[in-house]
Symmetry: C2
Subunit: 353 residues, 2 copies
Amino acid sequence: MFKPVGVAAVGLGRWANVLADAYTRSDKVSLVTCYTRSAEKRAAFAQRYGCDQEESLESLLKRDDVEMVIVTVPNRAHADVIEQAARAGKHVFVEKPIAVSLDHAQRIVNVVRETGIRFMCGHSGRRLGGVVKMKQMIDSGEIGDVSMVEAVFANERGLELQPGNWRGDPKEAPGGVLTQLGVHQIDNVQYLLGPIQRVFNFGKPIHTRIQNHTLNQTVVEFADGRQAYIGTNWVSPGVFYINVYGTKAALFYNLDFSWWSKSAITDQHSRLRKREFASMSDDPDNRILREVDVEFPHTDHLKDQIDMLAEAVRTGAEVDLTAEAALRNLAVVLAAVRSAEERRVVEIDEIIG
Amino acid sequence: MFKPVGVAAVGLGRWANVLADAYTRSDKVSLVTCYTRSAEKRAAFAQRYGCDQEESLESLLKRDDVEMVIVTVPNRAHADVIEQAARAGKHVFVEKPIAVSLDHAQRIVNVVRETGIRFMCGHSGRRLGGVVKMKQMIDSGEIGDVSMVEAVFANERGLELQPGNWRGDPKEAPGGVLTQLGVHQIDNVQYLLGPIQRVFNFGKPIHTRIQNHTLNQTVVEFADGRQAYIGTNWVSPGVFYINVYGTKAALFYNLDFSWWSKSAITDQHSRLRKREFASMSDDPDNRILREVDVEFPHTDHLKDQIDMLAEAVRTGAEVDLTAEAALRNLAVVLAAVRSAEERRVVEIDEIIG
C-alpha cells in the first residue's frame, strides 16, 4: 500500500491552481496546507482545495505532515524557498525553469546534494504520452539512426504583454519566450538525444511592446554530431511540435497547445505520426512514402511528474530529471541568449564550466 | 493566338526526361531538337519525344526554329552552355542551381544582361500551388504580421550515395544536400519573405559513406529582422514542409515528396492548413485553436515554369525569378557552407559583395 505523501503548496498564483487541479487527482500525494504572502489568496486556495493555510513559510516547514513542497513562487525566489525547504528536510517540486540565473540554479543543485532530498523540476513536456513514445522509438532503434530533431513551441502571449510585465524583463525571463516556452523543448530534445554541447541563436523582440525576445531560432549540436533546431515564437497562434528524423522513419508529434493546462486530456489533443517507405525501388522516382498514426498510452503530464516524485520519496528511486539536468536546461537558455547578443556559437561549457 | 516557342533540350540525363514529360504537355512550347554528347542518349530522347537530334551544340544553336534552350547539363557546365546559347540569341531555362561557383553564376548573370535574353532558373518549388497560395496570404495581410518561417526538405539519397558520386564532392555540390535539395527551400523563403541578409549553419556528413553534408540546420535573418530556419537532411524518408508564423494565423504546408517529379499531380499530394483561434478569451487557458484546410488552385510546377518563360519570350514580360535571384540562392548556399566551416555568422554581402 502506498501512503500518500503530504504536500504543501508554496506560491499560489495561477500555475499553483493548475498544478493542484492535477495532483489533487492523485492518490500518491495528499495536499496538507499552503502558503503565500497574500492572506486573501491563501484563503481562496485553502477553501478551493480543502487544505490548511499557514501564515509563514517557516510555520509551514515546521509541520511534520508536510513531506514535500510544491514551489511556484516567482523564478527569482526559487533558490531561497528551496534552500529553506530542503534544509527543513522537505522534498521539493519546483515549476520550470529551475531558476533564471546560474548562481541560483547552482545553489539549488548544491542544496539538493547536501541534504539528499528528492527533487524535480516541472519540465512536464517529457511526460506527454507522445514524447515518451518517441523516446522509446529512438532508443529501440525502430526508426533507425537519428540525425536531427526539430522542436517548436509558440503562442500568442507576446502580442499582449505590456511594458512592466516581468516576462518582458530579460533578467526575469532570459530570452523571453525562450525561458517561458522554449525551456520545455530544450528539456525535450535533451531527454530525447542527450546533453546539448553548443548553441547558435538568432533572437529578438518582434511584433511586441516588450523589450525581450518574442522570437528565437536556435540550432544546437550534441557531442555525437547530431543536431536539433528549437524554435520559440510568442507572436503566433499556439504551435507545439517535435519532429525526429531517423534513417528508417521520421516521426511527427503535434500537440494542440489549447489543452496544455488540462493535463488529464492533453494527450487526447496530440498526435504522433510515423513516415516511412510503403514501397522501395532502385529508381528514386518510384518510391512511395506512407504516414501512419502511432498509438501511445495516454499520460497526465502535470499529475504524473508529481506522482513520480512521490514514488521517489517513498521508495528512494531515482528521479529521471535531476537538478543538474534542469540546470543544464537553463544553461542552454543562457547560452542561446548570449549567442544572439554576441552573434557567435556558445559552448554550454562556457556557461557552466 | 500563342505561337508555341521552339525549344531544344541540351543535356539528356534523367532530369531532362522528367522536364520533357512536363513541357511536352504544354501548348506554349514545341520541342524541336536535342543534344548531348552520347549518340545513344540522343537517339533515345529524340525517339521518345518525337524531336530531331543534333551532333553538336553549335549546330543546335544555329537552327532558327530553336528559340529557347532547356539546359540540364552538369552544374559545372551551366555557364559555358548558357554563354554559348545566349550569344546565339537563344533564351535559356536552366535547372537549379544556377551554378555551383559564384564566378560561374556571375558569368550567367552577365551574359543574360548583355544579350537581353529571357532567362529562368528551375526553382520550381515556388510554382507549387500551396506555395503560391502562402505567398498571397502573406502579402494580403490575411495572416497578420509574419515573424518566422520554417522550411525543410529531406530525403534518403545520402544513405545510398557511394564514394565517387559527384553529389558527394563538395565542389560539385557545396553543402551536399544543401545544394541538391536545400536550394529549393532557400528560393522559397526568399520568394516568401525577400532577400536573406545573413546565415548561420550547423552541417556535416552523418550516417553516410560520402564526405559531404547530409545534414544542415540553417538559420537566417532578413533585413527587416524576420527570420527563417531551413533544414536539409539526406538520411531520412522524404519530408517537405513550410511553416509560416503570422500574428493572426500560422500556415503549415506539407508535400509528399514521392510525387515531386510527376508535376501534373504533385499538388494532389500536398496540403495547406491554417491554424487560428476558434475562440479568444482574456484568460489564456481558455482560448481554443482550430486548424482548417486552405484550398488553392492546383498547378503543374515543372510545366508552369517553362510556360512562364515562354510567355516572357513572346510578350517581353518580366520573369519573377531573375538570374540575380538565382545567384542569390547560390550565395545563401555558399554562405551556409562557409558558416559551417568557420562556425560563425556569414553575411550574404561577404559572398556577393
